[in-house]
Symmetry: C2
């Protein structure tokens, strides 16, 4: 083969390299730095091209494309959500993403994003809680102990100073898994037998369950004054976690209203129910928590800008390292108009 | 590293492997088979999820995502269009695409699509001309001799029986390049000094130019009765090739009206100007050419289903071959809920 020129090669971060990079830098540091990157991009939120993700639904799941651009870089993520996958030994969510140069349209980075999504989701949750949760929050309830749960716990420790997490899952094996995984991270970890037990004395309640249904992970009477709820799992039409009455008692914060109205907990509410965009809290344009006794709710569905930030972050972190390969993904004829000639010449090699 | 399981590995067709595969099978055979695959999918057109592509425009170009699904497979293409790229030694259009299993959301194939797009565009053009062009068409004018032009010429030879192509480009170097590239394909190739000269006696006129502007590659007086126009280059808002008067004299065929109204030549016409969907001609639901003297116009912008067909075709062609690599793109923990544990264990390797 003719060796492709460097222009034609796209840096690719495999799962193996992503794990090596995270372990090389350290999980807590990655989460802290990633939260900073997301915070910076949230501060320039109006700059971005924004649209609800492009979803292809089937009766077993959803496949989505999540594009955005800041005018210099363009990014998108491919992500699926298939709750029944775990029964087949597959991930509920897998993802990969791409960053490209707006000026040329050429990709600059392709990466696995199953792990990176877990990191950016946890970093975003903790970043938002830094703005909304009660001051000096020390205890978090972690309801749903699936693939995302440990990342949430570590992020809240690293970014919000959480010292104790109370785990609950309807499947005690999941709780045991999370319990063991969190053993050496300096967190006090408690296994609970019910949601009620887990949220007793919690400053922050994180819900992260995966069933595609209108569920009621939390009922109204379970949630006391002053708590911050970080609701991760309600993230597509027909999939919610919280009883509507909780929403009606809370001050609700969202990423991108046009998407959250469709996918988030607030799909249970009227279209005109007041919400606050979280980027406005971060820039100081809007108020966050206004009373100690207020229930704040981050109705998180995950937005393209968070993935964009994560890919941009990754691109800087892999510079001058070996944590990537180069993929021969772009045709690169010597004369750009001579694609056909390149094909012809390859035949004579 | 722990070797990822086969579930986590995504077959990837690089540019180098794509060229090798095309040359192994033979360009004409690939184009014929690909046109058949597209024809089959056009016959089941109503089955597909269809939406206009998701475009991110800048002042120098566009980046687009083109998703579709037939309920079993999901496919999308990433493609850019940057007319000024050639001045930087870069391709105007680069692309890659992905095919995934709707039932699991897991990718089944990642592929370069710069070459594959050139192939599917040419195959689609020739397939459509097979239905619309005058019977026994032998001569094609090829206006615009850039990266797509030779693929068009070979496809029209292989699929429609074209024997002679008349090349014209405002840049004579482009014409010379195409002329040399087409030397050994059994076509009579003529270099012309003007569009007028090229289309004299042509049964089919293919226009394929790249400037992002409202251009007039053909004026009304140049186009005689009975010809078939295959208009490739007018494919985004503000980018057309034909004078409006030609459109008004032609019977117009399109891929997907909602997209073509935005991107095609017909953006120059009223929203309610009559058009015929080409899949209806292929299934016999609508008439194609109804008179010998009629001007038929395929206002082609390229639609996601063509890319879907091309990726599906490619997936069958690489089975049991070495024309692909396997990418470690999907996280694959032993317990699917234990993403965190996988990361932890990678640290101790």
């Amino acid at each position: 083969m003719i060796k492709p020129s460097d222009k034609a090669l796209v840096p690719f971060v495999s799962v193996d390299n992503m794990m090596a990079l995270v372990n090389h830098i350290g999980l807590e540091k990655i989460l802290i730095d990633l939260a900073s990157e997301i915070e910076c991009d949230f501060k320039r939120w109006p700059l971005f091209d924004k649209s609800p993700r492009v979803a292809s639904h089937s009766n077993v799941g959803v496949i989505e494309l999540m594009p955005t651009s800041d005018g210099e870089l363009y990014g998108f993520k491919y992500v699926n959500g298939h709750p029944k996958n775990t029964k087949k030994g597959l991930q509920t969510v897998t993802a990969f993403g791409l960053l490209a140069d707006v000026n040329t349209g050429y990709p600059k980075l392709l990466s696995e994003m199953t792990l990176l999504t877990a990191l950016r989701t946890a970093a975003t949750s903790a970043l938002v809680a830094k703005y909304l949760a009660p001051r000096n929050s020390k205890v978090m309830a972690m309801i749903g102990n699936g693939a995302q749960s440990e990342f949430q716990c570590i992020a809240f420790k690293a970014i919000c100073g959480i010292e104790k997490v109370c785990l609950f899952d309807t499947d005690s094996n999941a709780t045991q898994k999370a319990f063991l995984n969190l053993a050496n991270y300096g967190l006090k970890v408690v296994k609970c037998k019910s949601s009620q037990e887990a949220i007793l004395n919690a400053d922050i309640i994180t819900t992260c369950t995966a069933d595609k249904q209108l569920a009621t992970i939390l009922t109204d009477n379970m949630v006391g004054a002053g708590v911050h709820i970080n609701a991760i799992g309600g993230d597509c039409p027909g999939k919610t976690e919280l009883h509507k009455d909780i929403l009606l008692r809370s001050k609700i914060f969202v990423e991108y209203p046009a998407q959250t109205r469709i996918e988030g907990e607030i799909q249970q509410l009227n279209e005109d129910h007041p919400i606050t965009e979280i980027w406005e809290v971060i820039t100081g344009k809007s108020e966050g928590r206004t009373r100690d006794s207020q229930i704040t709710l981050f109705d998180s569905v995950g937005f393209a800008i968070e993935d964009f930030s994560a890919l941009k972050f990754l691109l800087t972190k892999i510079q001058d390292t070996n944590f990537f390969e180069k993929l021969d993904m772009l045709a690169d004829p010597d004369d750009p108009r001579d694609l056909f000639g390149m094909l012809n010449r390859a035949n004579t090699q």
